[in-house]
């Protein structure tokens, strides 16, 4: 154990001021309890703890998971999940072997799946009727091929959640993809950028250092494009650099217009793309370009400090100025590049730190250093993680402890998560089933409970969208909501109930309503045995007295409900039940 971690644990125990290390591990058969200890007594029963960690650290228990956690001990299993690099993941990796677009660079994808619009532009104008017909056919072909990009992105997320043994890392990948949300429909080019974003930027850093993750996001073509930083450049009244990074005198739009007009009068060649007919337009375009605050604002508001994190509009502008020139090599696809000509090299002050004039790319790096280490960031990230793992309104004490870990470890995400998931609050009675599943979690937990086969078609991902959470489909940069009140309404509960009914009817690709262990043996068993089996497989073996009575009521000839027609129907009811909507 590292010194830092010992310190953090001691701190946590001191804060909790109660008997540290009371870990109610279930019949673990003599497994040594891990030396990092929880920060207080656990209110949940041993069975509840098993069910709880599986519902929070994974996308839902598979049939054999509870037994495994019970035999390993809850704490040892959590420690294993905190180290995804030690978990082999061959089954998941093998499945993605058939994915064509998954491990290609944006440039490769653009070449292999060109945008129909681009190809049409190359074909030239005013085609004859025959040409137009051929072009239309080609267009359809290209559109079809393009669809594969989105299909693999979306189906891949569901398949990975279903298959991977690195479940906590995938839960964290989901968390960060939502924290650093990007929208696939922003423009067609975003389709080329997301495989790299997910596989190279987010997933490898999901339990790593926050500063590393933040830097990878800042340089990712997906984010550069989504929040427009690729086209943000120095305003004309600021100090500028030439291509070699040396300061040059500034040119105002008026000076630019005069210069163009002089060239025009003198009959000199115009700059590329400018002709006498569009001088006005070119000047207007030049004027319009300049600083784009979009990324600078969201960096502070959503990615680091949080909306009440204590920054001003001047900080937004100065963060954006420092990040000018962080762009794309060959926009709008391609890779990250720093272009000195676009950079604002003037002096800036950000959150009380002075960034000296005349610098280049290091301006942006320093901005990321400053915001990643800001106390508001520690608090905001700790709060969001506690809300994700513990409760919609996590206690201030827990958030403070997690924020302290963040600061003490210089933003080690793994340690912040460890503080949260080993806390007394995490194992509190109120935390048990205290969260509402997102639509993605509803589908993923169903597939896992039923031992489903992964689906490489768009159909399963379309179910997630049908339930209200299209993958990579959140328009605004704030990501999907995290709290119950945002997900629960008449329409959403209806769709979830109907989803359960379609699972029962075996209409979900790859999923059989009787895919869980022991289902076949129960096909002709008495109703109460069937109900117990379903409750074990889908609801962690725990339902309210009322729910059990309603499910088993058909066994009683005096019951008020018409009899059920077989085991799959019970599975459908379990998925549509209030309990299944919780984790």
């Amino acid at each position: 154990m590292s010194q830092v971690r010992v310190l953090v644990t001691l701190l946590a125990c001191a804060v909790a001021a109660s008997s540290c290390g009371q870990s109610a591990t279930a019949s673990a058969g003599g497994n040594p309890r891990p030396s990092f200890a929880s920060s207080g007594p656990r209110e949940q029963t041993a069975d509840q703890q098993v069910s709880h960690v599986l519902s929070r650290l994974t996308f839902g228990a598979r049939p054999s998971d509870a037994d495994r956690v019970r035999s390993m001990g809850v704490d040892r299993w959590m420690e294993e999940q905190l180290h995804p690099e030690r978990i082999p993941d061959a089954a998941a990796d093998a499945f993605f072997g058939s994915y064509e677009t998954y491990h290609r660079s944006p440039d490769e994808l653009e070449q292999k799946y060109p945008r129909p619009q681009t190809v049409l532009n190359q074909l030239g104008k005013s085609p004859t009727a025959e040409q137009a017909k051929a072009d239309s056919a080609r267009l359809r072909e290209l559109q079809l091929a393009q669809r594969r990009l989105l299909t693999e992105l979306q189906s891949g997320r569901v398949a990975r959640a279903l298959l991977t043994d690195r479940q906590l890392n995938e839960v964290m990948t989901d968390f960060w993809l939502n924290h650093f949300s990007v929208y696939v429909q922003k423009a067609p080019v975003e389709h080329y950028l997301l495989a790299q974003y997910e596989n190279e930027v987010i997933r490898p850093n999901a339990l790593g250092q926050f500063r590393t993750l933040l830097g990878a996001v800042a340089k990712s073509p997906a984010m550069l494009f989504y929040l427009d930083n690729w086209e943000s450049q120095v305003d004309s009244n600021r100090l500028r650099l030439n291509a070699q990074g040396r300061p040059i005198p500034s040119v105002t739009p008026l000076q630019a217009q005069r210069a163009l007009e002089q060239r025009q009068r003198a009959g000199l060649p115009m700059p590329a793309g400018v002709n006498p007919q569009n001088v006005q337009q070119a000047v207007a375009a030049q004027r319009r370009r300049g600083l784009n605050e979009n990324y600078g604002r969201e960096l502070l508001e959503l990615h680091t400090l949080g909306v009440d994190g204590g920054y001003t509009q001047t900080d937004v502008i100065n963060a954006a100025r420092a990040l000018t020139g962080w762009t794309l090599l060959r926009p709008p696809v391609s890779a990250f590049a720093f272009k000195p000509q676009m950079h604002d090299a003037g002096e800036k002050v950000l959150l009380g730190h002075r960034l000296a004039a005349g610098r280049g790319m290091e301006d942006g790096e320093e901005v990321l250093d400053i915001v990643a280490r800001h106390p508001s960031t520690a608090h905001y990230i700790a709060f969001k993680l506690a809300r994700r793992f513990v409760a919609d309104t996590p206690s201030a004490a827990l958030v403070d402890r997690a924020a302290k870990t963040f600061t003490a470890t210089d933003g080690d995400i793994r340690e912040v998560v460890r503080t949260i998931i080993t806390s007394q609050e995490f194992f509190a009675r109120d935390a048990y089933r205290g969260k509402v599943k997102t639509p993605f979690e509803v589908v993923a937990s169903t597939l896992r409970a039923l031992n489903a086969q992964p689906d490489s078609t768009p159909r399963t991902a379309a179910l997630v969208a049908f339930l209200g959470q299209p993958i990579y489909g959140h328009q605004t940069p704030n990501g999907w909501p995290e709290t119950a009140d945002q997900w629960m309404n008449t329409g959403s509960i209806l769709n979830r109930i109907n989803f359960g009914i379609s699972v029962a009817a075996n209409r979900v690709p790859g999923a059989s309503a009787l895919g869980w262990n022991g289902a076949e043996a129960l096909k002709n068993a008495p109703l109460d045995q069937q109900v117990d089996g379903v409750v074990r497989a889908l609801l962690g073996g725990d339902v309210s007295v009322d729910t059990r009575a309603i499910l088993t009521s058909g066994a009683n000839p005096l019951a008020k409900f018409p009899p059920l027609k077989g085991l799959p129907q019970i599975v459908g009811l379990a998925i549509g039940s209030p309990e299944f909507q919780r984790r």
């Binding site: 049409l120 532009n121 104008k125 005013s126 929208y183 922003k186 423009a187 569009n278 006005q280 207007a284 375009a285 979009n294 604002r297 969201e298 508001e301 909306v307 919609d392 205290g434 509402v436 969208a465 049908f466 489909g473 328009q475 605004t476 940069p477 704030n478 119950a484 009140d485 629960m488 309404n489 008449t490 329409g491 509960i493 209806l494 109930i497 109907n498 009914i501 379609s502 029962a504 309210s544 009322d546 729910t547 309603i550 499910l551 009521s553 058909g554 008020k560 409900f561 018409p562 009899p563 059920l564 027609k565 129907q569 459908g572 009811l573 549509g576 039940s577 209030p578 909507q581 919780r582």
Partner: protein, 419 residues
Amino acid sequence: MTMPRRYFLKSGALALATMGLSPSFLRRTVFGMELPAAAKGKVLICLFQRGAADALNVVVPFGDKSYYQLRPNIAIPEPLRGQGTAAALDLDGFFGLHPSLAPLKPLWDRGMLAPIHAVGSPSSTRSHFDAQDYMESGTPDRKATNDGWLNRYLATSGTCEASCEPSPFRAVAMTQQTPRILAGSAPTVAMNTLEEFSVRGGGDQTARLEALYRTGSADVIHGAGKDMFEAVKMLKSANPLQYQPQNGAEYPKTPFGNHLKQIAQLIKSNVGLEVAFADIGGWDTHVNQGAATGALAQRLDDFAKSIAALTADLGDRMDDVVILTMSEFGRMARQNGNGGTDHGHAGAMFVIGGHVRGKQVYGTWPGLAPEQLYEGRDLALTTDFRTVFAEIAGRHLGASKMDALFPGFSPHGGLGLLG
């Protein structure tokens, strides 16, 4: 866990809907008595043309000479020059409708149709994503707004006193997901089809599912579940599908046509619908958009026939209905090298209804001469879309908290669209 207030309110009135009473009775007892005068029975139908419709070929400024210079191959011929249906349909000697909008011409003639030109977002963005976002949030250039302006209307204007629960069908989007314009704290329903809004299981499953949500704790999940079962029963009892198109209305068999038909069914079944939303795509005509015929003409054909069917179908109910069409921005004034048009700035809207002051084109025409164009290329903006939205929300629906709907915006009076 905190619970929204609405889940505590036992909906005594709504429960009537489950007792098989007639829809007209429902209207009077459940909704009619308690509606404030301003909002009584009024319906707003918002239709979004996603992809940026080419306003200059929709409401054609044939009286502006520059129009034909800018668009040598794709302009719509002026009314007298064209052959038969291949020309603009004259409105006022300056503007004309695209010939595919012929089904809407009778609405103009009857004074129910008011086009607004050179209207849109003051934001300079030419991104579909950003511009749709701004049009739906109602806050141009402000991305931090999380809700849509229609939802802010619903959240700040009750249909009745605090003691009554609004209809679950007060706001319905005929879309797969809740559109941005309806996102927010007030409850709304999004559905593809009316048939979809039902529990698909047999009676044995459905009865048990309802029981599961009626027992147990009073939390947000059970609350939503109970509301849902009541809404499903209410819809079943009102049975909107029984209302077949009237007055000879023929809806195109397209997704858009079907959505409008179902909005009419919801209105006719009196389930308390106040705000309806549907959208129609395919307007991003960068390539070969055609002129009087072609790609754009085909989109307009579906658009116009669907709206014409809706107005015919609703008949006298149009006195209480306003249809508002919108698109995120217009397209470049000049045609591009591919027989299409690129992203532009100001656009056009239609306002249709029984008490709309129609038969005139609203807005100030900025002109299409080179020096009149926005940034040297696009139709300039003379009417902020919020002016139109605020006028319709206020004058038609009776919204009063305009600063909540459009924070920081003063509409300076409206265009006088509504009589």
